[in-house]
């Protein structure tokens, strides 16, 4: 088990304890994770079949869904027990999120999209434009893209802009949900290599969710969601 191996000296990025979540109040069975830990700076590949609860876990980690019992600590701070307002703020400041698609507000320019992330995080960053430029360069995007409306970009470009936006507030935790499903194989591989590279550079903890086992090769750590969840049956 990963939790037994982890040494106490390395701070944890994610620490889930006795977490249970019901999709509907009337449900008898629930989504239950007894224990899961991810160390800071690790890049984890989280895989599982469709419907296995990957996205639910991600929603819980992002604090969009709230658990009925148990708790989640992020970056060694209580997260699931925060008020919804504080949770929103914590997310804005510490967590970057990239979805499968629809990551950007289509009618806003790329720059505006990126600025929005900083606005809600209330970081008061005045050098967004330069930092966005640097990020776009690192993501191998032309900087002229900044002024273009998000919906005029290709899907691959949009996904890379989404990463730039997720990283603008210098988050310590990056959650990505099947970001490559709309990309072809070549751009998919390039995308993941870039993403992992950036995370290593900035020592960002990455949780990469996908059902595509081909992507496992890019990660040192790989976790099957069902292995986290399997004790649910023991418990019930």
């Amino acid at each position: 088990m990963p939790n037994t191996i982890s040494s106490a000296s390395t701070p944890l990025a994610i620490h889930i304890n006795q977490l249970s979540y019901k999709y509907h109040k009337a449900d008898k069975t629930s989504f239950y994770i007894p224990n899961w830990q991810v160390k800071q700076g690790e890049q984890v590949f989280l895989h599982g079949e469709s419907g296995s609860g990957k996205t639910t876990l991600l929603n819980l980690l992002a604090g969009v869904l709230t658990s009925q019992s148990g708790d989640i600590n992020l970056l060694e701070q209580a997260f699931s027990t925060l008020s919804s307002k504080k949770r929103d703020k914590f997310r804005a400041q510490n967590i970057g999120v990239v979805f499968q698609q629809f990551n950007l507000i289509p009618y806003l320019s790329v720059l505006k999209n990126i600025q929005l992330a900083s606005y809600f995080a209330k970081t008061g960053n005045t050098k967004i434009e330069q930092e966005a430029n640097a990020l776009l360069l690192a993501l191998k995007l032309p900087t002229t893209i900044l002024q273009k409306a998000a919906n005029t970009l290709s899907v691959g470009q949009q996904q890379r802009v989404a990463i730039a936006r997720a990283l603008i507030n210098k988050p310590k935790l990056l959650l990505v949900d099947e970001p490559t499903s709309a990309l072809d194989a070549a751009s998919r591989d390039a995308f993941i290599a870039l993403l992992i590279d950036l995370c290593k550079q900035h020592s960002i903890t990455l949780v990469f969710v996908s059902h595509d086992m081909h992507l496992q090769q890019f990660f040192k750590l790989s976790v099957d969601v069902t292995s986290l969840l399997k004790e649910e049956f023991n418990k019930c």
């Binding site: 996205t55 929103d88 804005a92 979805f99 950007l104 507000i105 009618y107 992330a117 809600f120 949900d177």
Partner: protein, 412 residues
């Protein structure tokens, strides 16, 4: 940032937003114009007469007397004796008296017989006296003083001669061809019916109603015929003390030698407005209904956009926008629309009134101020804004709920 986000969001849904904007623009214009015209009409009516304490005429209704003597509307039912005027004038309670004699017209402008006390004592607006733009009061029998509108419409100048017809209307058959009047003075604009009146002396009114033979005689020698009037239409009175108003009114109403009626302009004016109140309220109700319907349109538009904005809201949520930020975003969108529509409506109306002002004044006697920026307009716009906030709370709440239940990577 929220405002710029809301603005971009509106811009991305241009078509439905523009239609909603137009519907708001129309309804706000209707409401504002009803309010403005109501205000201005009242003001315009109230300023027609000032400092006149009493109007005395033949017994009829007080409204009737007010309408024909002050507004030149309708016709007097009967006249009063000239001697009554002289009696009133010499009364110890009366400071001044203006006799007026109506019933003739010149190219659809009313002709009013009076004397020079009219130019001296008649006041309008806030006790403003009549002033001459050019010329002077009439001195001799066939001289006339015309209002500003008459001069403007008929392009009359000092020294022009006019022919006055008996009766009211443009095509009177009995033109008093033989008795042309020379224009002696032109009054400054007042924004009251005075502008549309031709003033001549009481004797002149008498003279144009003489038989042709007598008129010929009169034209030869002004003093050969007695033109002292026997009757006049009404008398306007100014009193020495306001406290004697009711005593004098009672005395006049009980006067034995002639059948007289005295009305107080203020009281009659109030009665006039009470009559108008029904129409006024009706217009208001219609205006409000139109506004409510377009506010519902605004709410519907925003509500309909919610389905297509699920992803957008999910993105905002993930960026750290709380449900309350999403709620305010929708509210701000509604407010932008309403405020823009209000500003556009105000501008549109000001422009319209400015362009149509002359025509409204000439045709309906409505003198509107083109400046819409007054307290009343602001009050109406505030009410509209509050109503818009209330109606757009429905779609905003929907967005709030969406935000609460939205999860990462909404896929629809």
């Amino acid at each position: 940032m929220l405002v710029s986000l809301a603005w971009s969001s509106l811009a991305s849904r241009r078509k439905s937003v523009i239609l909603t904007f137009l519907s708001l623009l129309i309804s706000i214009s209707v409401l504002l114009s009803v309010e403005h015209i109501r205000q201005q009409a009242k003001e315009s009516f109230n300023r027609t007469i000032s400092d006149v304490d009493m109007i005395v005429g033949a017994p009829s209704g007080q409204l009737n007397l007010l309408l024909y003597s002050v507004f030149r509307m309708g016709s007097p039912t009967s006249n009063i004796n000239y001697k009554s005027y002289e009696t009133l004038k010499s009364s110890s309670l009366v400071k001044w008296a203006i006799p007026i004699s109506l019933g003739d017209s010149h190219r659809s402008f009313r002709v009013m017989g009076t004397n020079n006390s009219y130019f001296e004592h008649f006041k309008y607006g806030t006790k403003q006296p009549l002033t001459f733009n050019s010329g002077q009061p009439f001195n001799t029998l066939f001289e006339a003083v015309i209002g500003a509108d008459v001069a403007k419409k008929l392009s009359y100048k000092i020294g022009d001669s006019v022919v006055i017809a008996h009766g009211i209307g443009n095509t009177s058959f009995t033109h008093h061809e033989n008795t042309p009047f020379i224009i002696k003075g032109i009054l400054s604009p007042t924004g009251t019916p005075v502008d549309k009146t031709i003033h001549v002396s009481l004797n002149a009114i008498e003279a144009i109603h003489l038989s042709p033979a007598k008129q010929a005689e009169l034209l030869n020698n002004v003093d050969s015929v007695n033109t002292t009037p026997e009757s006049i239409t009404a008398v306007m009175l100014g009193l020495k003390s306001k406290f004697s108003t009711f005593k004098l009114q009672r005395d006049i109403n009980n006067y034995k030698a002639d059948r007289l009626m005295a009305v107080l302009p203020g009281v009659a004016m109030t009665e006039l407005w009470q009559m108008m109140a029904t129409v006024e309220n009706l217009l208001r109700v219609i205006g409000i209904l139109v506004l409510v319907s377009s506010l519902f349109g605004l709410s519907t538009m925003l509500l309909a956009s919610m389905a297509q904005r699920k992803n957008e809201i999910a993105v905002l949520r993930v960026l750290g926008a709380g449900p309350s930020a999403i709620f305010s975003l929708v509210l701000v969108e509604a407010l932008i629309l309403v405020i823009l529509a209000s500003a556009a409506a105000t501008t549109l109306l000001s422009l319209t009134i400015w362009l149509l002002g002359d025509w409204l004044g000439a045709t309906y006697g409505l003198f509107l101020n083109a400046n819409m920026l007054n307290v009343e307009t602001l009050k109406v716009i505030t009410v509209i804004t509050v109503a818009a906030i209330i109606t757009s709370a429905i779609p905003a709440y929907e967005a709030y709920k969406n935000a609460l239940h939205s999860s990462l990577g909404a896929k629809s």
